[in-house]
């Protein structure tokens, strides 16, 4: 039995009571156990002190490096107080203890490194309680984040839906007058052309002596300038009307009032190529296109809608590159990738990128940073609706401001999509 004696001024009862609760050990200069009390044998899960004697202390540590750390503290301070270490019980269970160690009081003077006395206090319960508390907090925080993400997605979908209804109504209201305005304008133009021609014919009949008066009248009423302006006026009006038409078209697609196309098996690489043909004109000037395509399994989707998504992304990339107003080469990289459960298409550009405060807003309907008349702010929200709501896929964006933007479309293999 270990010989432990209380110090002169220490109450003997308290001393022994403490020692019956806590592991006390002594080890030799090689840091092997020389003696250990019953509480220590119990703590480490052994049958008797004999099983432990001769064992290097480092072997009882979960991390032997920590024993080295204790030694360095001993060398530095001559003692260690309440160092938290993890011990490995005989069956492998780990226990947290506070270790206090001093150089052996029986050591000769100048022989302080020869052996240690140590006391180990089991604090597993306390550590466990703190751990559980932290664990719960962490998991709560995780759940909260998940809820928030789901919520913001729901809000987004809700917004899309209500804007969609509004858009459907607007598109309908605008579409009818728009078509007769366009048709009338075209008629007007041909009438004016006819009038002009008639007028010139009549002018041909004006007698020589009236020509002066005639010229004066033309000048007074600015007829030549008006005639020259007319063509521009018609062209600009027609241009404006075309823009309105395309906005209305977007609104209709957005509100799903278009005729729903049925799903087919589509190779996204082919969809991409056909869309690139359409966008070719835009892609020509000053932009290099990189293709980084992998073979893809076909996915079930509505091809016209997916084409529209790709076109939106490509045109945005082109606009982004143009907006830099530099002659530095612009590049757009289109990338496709097969994944176990779906296919991925990315459109990446080296334009100005998207400021972080706008990153979450780009999918919002009517969000645009383009000048009035150039952007509708609908392209990405329509694309989001198509990919996420109608194809159960995923559309995300990442951007390093100043370096460009990358849009990623994911479509699931199992093409279970929303009914039209």
């Amino acid at each position: 039995m270990m010989d432990v004696r209380p110090g002169a001024d220490f109450p003997p009862d308290l001393f022994h009571a403490l020692l019956s609760q806590q592991m006390v050990y002594r080890c030799d200069a090689d840091d092997r156990i020389v003696d250990v009390n019953p509480a220590g044998v119990r703590l480490l899960g052994y049958a008797s002190a004999q099983d432990l004697i001769g064992t290097p202390m480092a072997d009882l540590y979960a991390s032997p490096e920590d024993r080295g750390y204790l030694h360095s503290l001993m060398r530095e301070h001559g003692a260690v107080r309440d160092l938290e270490v993890v011990l490995r019980q005989r069956d492998g269970t780990l226990v947290f203890v506070l270790e206090t160690a001093v150089a052996s009081p029986r050591a000769e003077v100048g022989d302080v490194d020869s052996s240690y006395w140590g006391v180990m206090k089991d604090i597993s319960d306390r550590v466990e309680a703190q751990r559980n508390q932290l664990h719960t907090n962490l998991e709560l925080a995780e759940t909260n984040r998940l809820l928030k993400a789901t919520q913001s997605r729901l809000v987004q979908q809700e917004k899309l839906a209500s804007v969609g209804q509004l858009a459907a109504g607007l598109a309908h209201e605008i579409n009818n007058p728009l078509s007769f305005i366009i048709s009338n304008l075209d008629t007007l133009r041909s009438y004016v052309t006819a009038l002009n021609r008639g007028l010139s014919a009549v002018e041909g009949l004006i007698p020589e002596d009236a020509l002066r008066d005639h010229r004066q009248i033309r000048e007074e009423h600015h007829l030549d300038e008006i005639a020259a302006d007319l063509e521009d006026l018609f062209r600009e009006s027609r241009h404006g009307l075309d823009h309105i038409t395309s906005v209305v078209h977007s609104l209709r697609t957005f509100s799903r009032s278009g005729i729903g196309q049925s799903q087919t098996m589509v190779d996204l690489n082919e969809a991409l190529e056909s869309t690139l043909v359409i966008a070719r004109n835009e892609l020509k000037q000053g932009i290099t296109l990189h293709r980084d395509l992998s073979p893809l399994p076909p996915v079930s989707c509505r091809a016209d809608e997916i084409n529209q998504v790709i076109l939106n992304l490509l045109l945005n990339a082109v606009h982004a590159i143009r907006s830099r107003h530099t002659d530095a080469p612009g590049t757009i990289t289109v990338r496709t990738l097969a994944q176990p459960d779906g296919v991925v298409l990315e459109v990446e550009d080296n334009g100005p990128g998207i400021a972080s405060q706008n990153l979450r807003r780009v999918f919002e309907p009517f969000f645009t940073t383009k000048p009035v008349g150039e952007g509708t702010g609908l392209g990405l929200s329509i694309s989001y609706d198509i990919v996420v709501n109608r194809h159960r896929g995923d559309l995300s964006v990442s951007s390093e401001p100043g370096r460009g933007a990358r849009f990623t479309v994911r479509l699931p293999l199992s093409g279970e999509t929303e009914e039209t």
Binding site: S63, E65, D66, V86, V127, Q130, L134, H135, N137, E400
Partner: protein
Amino acid sequence: MADMHASQQLFQQFNNEHNGLALQVQECPPEARGLSVSGHLDTTNAASFSRVVHAWLDECGGVRELWFDLAGLRYISSSGIGAFVQLLMEAQSRGVALRLLDLGPNVQAVFDVLGFSRFFVLEK
């Protein structure tokens, strides 16, 4: 970089007041901030470590990632792990990712024993 200088002062003061733990700002990619932690992190210094790192986090507006180089961390106790867990929660709530790099085996072991490794990005 002005804020890098401010952070260095913050940690300089910490290092003067704490013997066993040294913190130093490290070079990082533009959207990240890095701190090397060396010495030992335990009950005696976990609370002030927490405080100074949270103050640092306040200064790191707009940053996406915090890197902690733990190669020089010789010892960590459960309180030290607690400090990192709290930091993780704070960082996550601000949308900042935490990366702990180069943990020694004994430091990694405490994360493992307490079951927190899966919440962190721990890198060799």
